[in-house]
């Protein structure tokens, strides 16, 4: 069959240098879960990625040499146990399998990137996950399990990657991811989001910098309503990139929420498809994972296309929303000033991170934190008491006492993946001394040996 070669060579000859080609290999998982919704009029419903799929299919994206589509995998309870204490168990929290496939989409991309089949990858999956915390009793902000955290913990265990940065550009504070890596100095978490005083979940202020052993490795950058493309790119250039430069991560993950778009119904920002593509090109994430984004018809098709092309190193200058008018979306001078101020403040905190850790406590000291977590999706109220060992050598072991109403009263003990000997011993002490009569379940998450154990 000479047809094969001839059609190919003819094609090349005709197309010459205009032939579309990714500058490297980029993996894509597209899992729109067309048969699942929270409920029929909820923003997180079947239709959400329909128009994105139409746009991406019509553009012939999956035919571009260098773009490789992967089928999502499905995550196992073992995968969840590295990032979560699922209460009462994994099965109950993820009764519906779409959560497992959504996280499995990110896992498939992680495998492709880590095995060097592709240079980078984008998991377009739903439902999102960045509001799901380490202790998870159910659904929060449309999320049950944290897709990025499950993926990051998988990468750490499977491939031994040490330093990872997660940049959350969703318009909502990525409070779940923030919680999961709160005490982890080896995971840099930066969230850009609309100011918590004006949007769910109401957190993510600059002073929220992480636990005593990880101060400054959590950076929260609230942005005023009306922030435009210029403002977002200013933060990337003047804050995110310098911090990344200093942190020197082995892997950069982007929680690529798209709800800061100027047409998003849930938020008040002025970001654009061109802006998202630029942001992606500047940030150069190894792995991007879709989070929120609910302007499903006017924004998502263009934003997702822009991100895909930027990841693949293909010209994205033609990807523009039909109603895009940069003049109308200009940010005010006061917004520009506020953004500059918050960036300066963040850079100051970042510069003082080691001093702040020194000041947080003496090594070996146990620090206690009380907090309350509300689950808007499932209407659960959780009261937590956390104890962590201050340590300069590792992230420090901690225990969380979590009492959910309605729900269970449990204790989770976490020993970090790089735990020092003293913290490891402290972790086992927490676990062994826990009062079985007080808790319905006591969990041990020993990341040093990838062990997960439950006492009832």
């Amino acid at each position: 069959m000479g047809m094969n070669q001839c059609l190919t060579s003819r094609r090349k000859e005709i197309k010459g240098d205009t032939m579309l080609n990714a500058s490297h290999k980029t993996g894509l998982v597209f899992f729109p879960a067309f048969d699942w919704a929270i409920d029929s009029t909820h923003p997180e419903r079947e239709e959400r990625l329909l128009y994105t799929q139409d746009q991406v299919s019509e553009e012939g994206v999956f035919d571009i040499p260098g773009i490789i589509e992967y089928k999502p995998e499905i995550v196992t309870p073992k995968d969840l146990q590295r990032a979560h204490f699922c209460v009462p168990d994994e099965h109950t929290v993820t009764t519906e399998s779409h959560h497992l496939i959504s996280a499995g989409g990110a896992k498939a991309i992680a495998n492709a990137v880590m095995l060097k089949e592709v240079k980078n990858g984008f998991a377009l999956v739903r439902p999102p996950g960045h509001h799901a915390m380490r202790v998870t009793h159910g659904g929060r902000g449309f999320c049950h399990i944290n897709v990025e955290a499950v993926m990051v913990e998988y990468i750490r265990s499977q491939f031994g990657v040490k330093r990872i940065a997660i940049i959350d550009t969703d318009c909502h504070h990525g409070d779940g991811t923030n919680d999961i890596f709160w005490h982890d100095p080896d995971v840099l978490f930066i969230s850009l989001h609309q100011d918590g005083r004006t949007l769910y979940p109401g957190t993510g202020f600059p002073g929220e910098l992480g636990g005593p052993n990880a101060k400054g490795s959590n950076l929260n950058i609230p942005l005023p309503p009306g922030t435009s493309t210029k403002g977002y790119l200013y933060v990337i250039e003047n804050c995110v990139l310098p911090v990344l430069e200093a942190f020197k991560p082995d892997l950069v993950v982007n929680s690529a929420g798209q709800d800061n778009h100027y047409t998003d119904p849930l938020t008040n920002m002025n970001f654009s498809a061109q802006g998202y593509a630029r942001l992606t090109a500047m940030l150069k994430p190894d792995i991007a994972v879709l989070e929120g984004g609910y302007a499903i018809e006017g924004a998502l098709p263009y934003v997702n296309l822009g991100i895909i092309l930027a990841m693949a190193g293909i010209d994205y200058s033609g990807v523009v929303e039909p109603d895009y008018n940069p003049e109308k979306l200009k940010q005010s001078v006061s917004v520009t000033d506020k953004i500059k101020k918050v960036c300066d403040q963040i850079m100051t905190y970042w510069g003082q991170r080691y001093e702040m850790r020194e000041a947080a406590g003496e090594p070996g000291q146990i620090i206690i934190r009380h907090r309350e977590v509300f689950y808007d999706t499932d209407n659960i109220f959780d009261r937590q008491k956390e104890k962590i060992r201050v340590c300069r050598d590792c992230g420090g072991s901690f225990e969380v006492d979590s009492k959910a109403v309605p729900g269970h009263h449990v204790l989770g003990v976490h020993i970090p993946i790089n735990a020092c000997k003293a913290c490891r011993e402290q972790g086992y002490e927490f676990y062994e001394q826990a009062d079985k009569t007080r808790y319905q379940r006591i969990y041990l998450q020993d990341r040093t040996t990838d062990l997960y154990e439950i006492k009832q």
Partner: protein, 564 residues
């Protein structure tokens, strides 16, 4: 009585079938520079002593369009492409006469930017001046709203011999492929038309007056008349003919692989319960990608005439090139066919020359002659089966878009291998031994392709979309659009789709007896919600008349084969 004719690269095969099985088959050499003559001499030979009045059906499969594309003898075509936001349409350039114009339609089929009439007229004039007679017009999202394509055609209509529109080639979304397919359609049209009109006339002169059916790449047929709108569908009908010829011997209710082992390549295809699998979007070969419906086939550069070599690491290399026929048949270098001769499996050919060739390989490998021949044979089976299993892995790794498909997705897992092509019968036993899979050499292997063409039934596909927010149900590929109410349901959509499919099939020459093999390829239903309140529904379906054989012949073929 049925005639099936398949023009191959070297031979043109013709069969004459009755309900009792194969009545007669002939083989004539193909004259690549005069396919018309090859077709004619095939028909003349088969019709000797046959009353043409008894022939009820004639199916032809040719390499006409394939050759024209490979040899670049297609007609120059002017392409007018309207893209709107997205990837730069210059990336999809088809040749010199390619013009990206303004105008834009979005994914819901809404007009974003109108067509500029002056601009189109100017492009028309430029094309005229360049001597262009055939034009293709493609707009992005034309399958949602073809009005821009129709308008451009209307502006230019009187100036060109024929204008092909993108929304007629497929209901599938894929703008770059639609451009390539529309271009190819226009490029092969004059050739296809002249050729088949000549064939039709000659057959009439021989007394054959039944409408001619033409084989498509999807293993189905269409009438000559229907082919004029979409002649590019005849590309790669050759491999399709062979696969269709394997169906009578495929196991019912099981998965099977078809391997067509030729001189230089082996084609690989898949059957599920006797139905061949289709490419999900359209023909793709190397960098060429189209929306032409096609059986899912791939090929590996290995066959009976592949050149054998030993590399510097003392490893045997098979192909992918062919230098000439086997040494046993006067060729210059040893081939797998020579190994078959040395092993005594094949009786034809010059034994001494075959041994001489295999000996040279054996010496380099440090083996005995027979041992080397056996080694060659095994390596060939290995290469073919390795590629087959890779394809099956790809097939089963196909992305899915629903939770249901993820959890319940079909996994292809063959129980049987059907071997076709010249050396098929020699390979069957070996492959069965090596892989413990039932392996059958298809009877009448040398004319199975012509049998496949003869018995292939009409296939077609319709894609129907309803958007109750906008109040329309459309199948733009069929030039169909009707208003609908908010209550338009799945059942209504299915009814519309079935009736469109039936019309399309009858137009393409389908026998009403064969209209029951309808398959729903896709169904999707979405609520459109804005600001938390429902606005309507989007319903989408794609249904097809799937490829298969016309009724009434298969069982006789099977019995005849057993009797042989």
């Amino acid at each position: 009585m049925i005639l099936g004719l398949d023009v191959g690269g070297t031979h043109t095969d013709v069969v004459f079938l009755s309900r009792k099985g194969v009545q007669k088959h002939v083989k004539v050499p193909t004259q690549p520079d005069n396919l018309f003559k090859s077709v004619l001499s095939g028909f003349t030979l088969i019709l000797e002593n046959v009353d043409p009045g008894r022939i009820e059906r004639v199916v032809i499969s040719t390499t006409l369009t394939t050759n024209a594309i490979v040899q670049q003898t297609v007609t120059p075509v002017g392409m007018i492409v309207s893209a709107g936001p997205g990837i730069d349409p210059q990336s999809f350039r088809t040749g010199d006469h390619y013009y990206a114009v303004g105008g834009s339609i979005n994914h819901r089929g809404r007009e974003i930017e109108p067509i500029n009439e002056m601009e189109i007229k100017a492009v028309g004039e430029t094309l005229k001046k360049a001597g262009i007679e055939y034009v293709g017009v493609v707009s992005k999202f034309c399958v949602r709203n073809p009005s821009h394509e129709i308008l451009i055609k209307r502006i230019l209509n009187k100036q060109f011999k024929q204008i092909f529109l993108g929304h007629h080639v497929s209901g599938n979304l894929n703008f770059p492929r639609r451009i390539a397919t529309t271009h190819m359609n226009a490029a092969v049209y004059p050739l296809h038309k002249d050729f088949f009109q000549a064939v039709e006339q000659s057959l009439e002169e021989m007394g054959l007056t039944v409408p001619i059916q033409i084989l498509k790449a999807d293993g189905g047929t269409m009438t000559l008349g229907a082919s004029m709108a979409f002649p590019a569908q005849t590309v790669l009908s050759g491999p399709a003919a062979s696969i269709m010829g394997a169906i009578p011997y495929a196991p019912e209710g099981q998965d099977a692989v078809v391997l067509d082992i030729g001189g230089t390549t082996t084609d690989i295809a898949f059957l599920v319960d006797k139905t061949p699998l289709l490419e999900p979007v359209g023909i793709q070969r190397g960098g060429y990608r189209s929306l032409i419906r096609s059986l899912r086939t791939d090929s590996k550069g290995i066959g009976g005439d592949s050149a054998l070599r030993v590399n510097e690491k003392s490893e045997l290399m098979v192909g992918p090139d062919r230098i000439g026929p086997a040494m046993a048949f006067g060729g210059p270098v040893p081939t797998p066919t020579d190994a078959l001769v040395v092993l005594g499996l094949m009786e034809a050919g010059d034994q001494d020359r075959a041994r001489q060739g295999i000996k040279s390989i054996a010496d380099q490998l440090g083996m005995e002659e027979k041992q080397a021949a056996e080694h060659i044979f095994k390596i060939c089976c290995n290469i073919i089966l390795k590629k087959t299993f890779e394809m099956i892995d790809t097939l089963n790794a196909k992305p899915v878009y629903t939770v249901h498909d993820f959890l319940e997705g079909y996994k292809f897992s063959p129980d049987t291998i059907l071997l076709m092509g010249g050396p098929a019968r020699f390979f069957a036993e070996k492959i069965q031994d090596m892989y413990q899979l039932e392996t059958i050499a298809v009877p009448y292997a040398s004319v199975a392709n012509a049998i496949g063409a003869a018995l292939a039934r009409t296939t077609c596909e319709v894609t129907v979309n309803a958007d109750t927010e906008q109040g329309v149900v459309t199948a733009h590929e069929e030039d169909f659009a009707e208003p609908v109410s908010k209550s338009f349901s799945r059942e209504d959509l299915e009814e519309t789709a079935y009736s469109l499919l039936k019309d399309k099939a009858e137009n393409a020459g389908a026998d009403p007896d064969n209209l029951n093999e309808v398959e729903v390829v896709e169904f999707q239903e979405f609520n459109i919600v804005r600001n938390f309140s429902p606005r309507g529904k989007i319903l989408r379906t794609k249904i097809q008349l799937k490829p298969g054989l016309i009724h009434g012949y298969e069982s006789m073929l099977n019995q005849q084969a057993q009797g042989n």
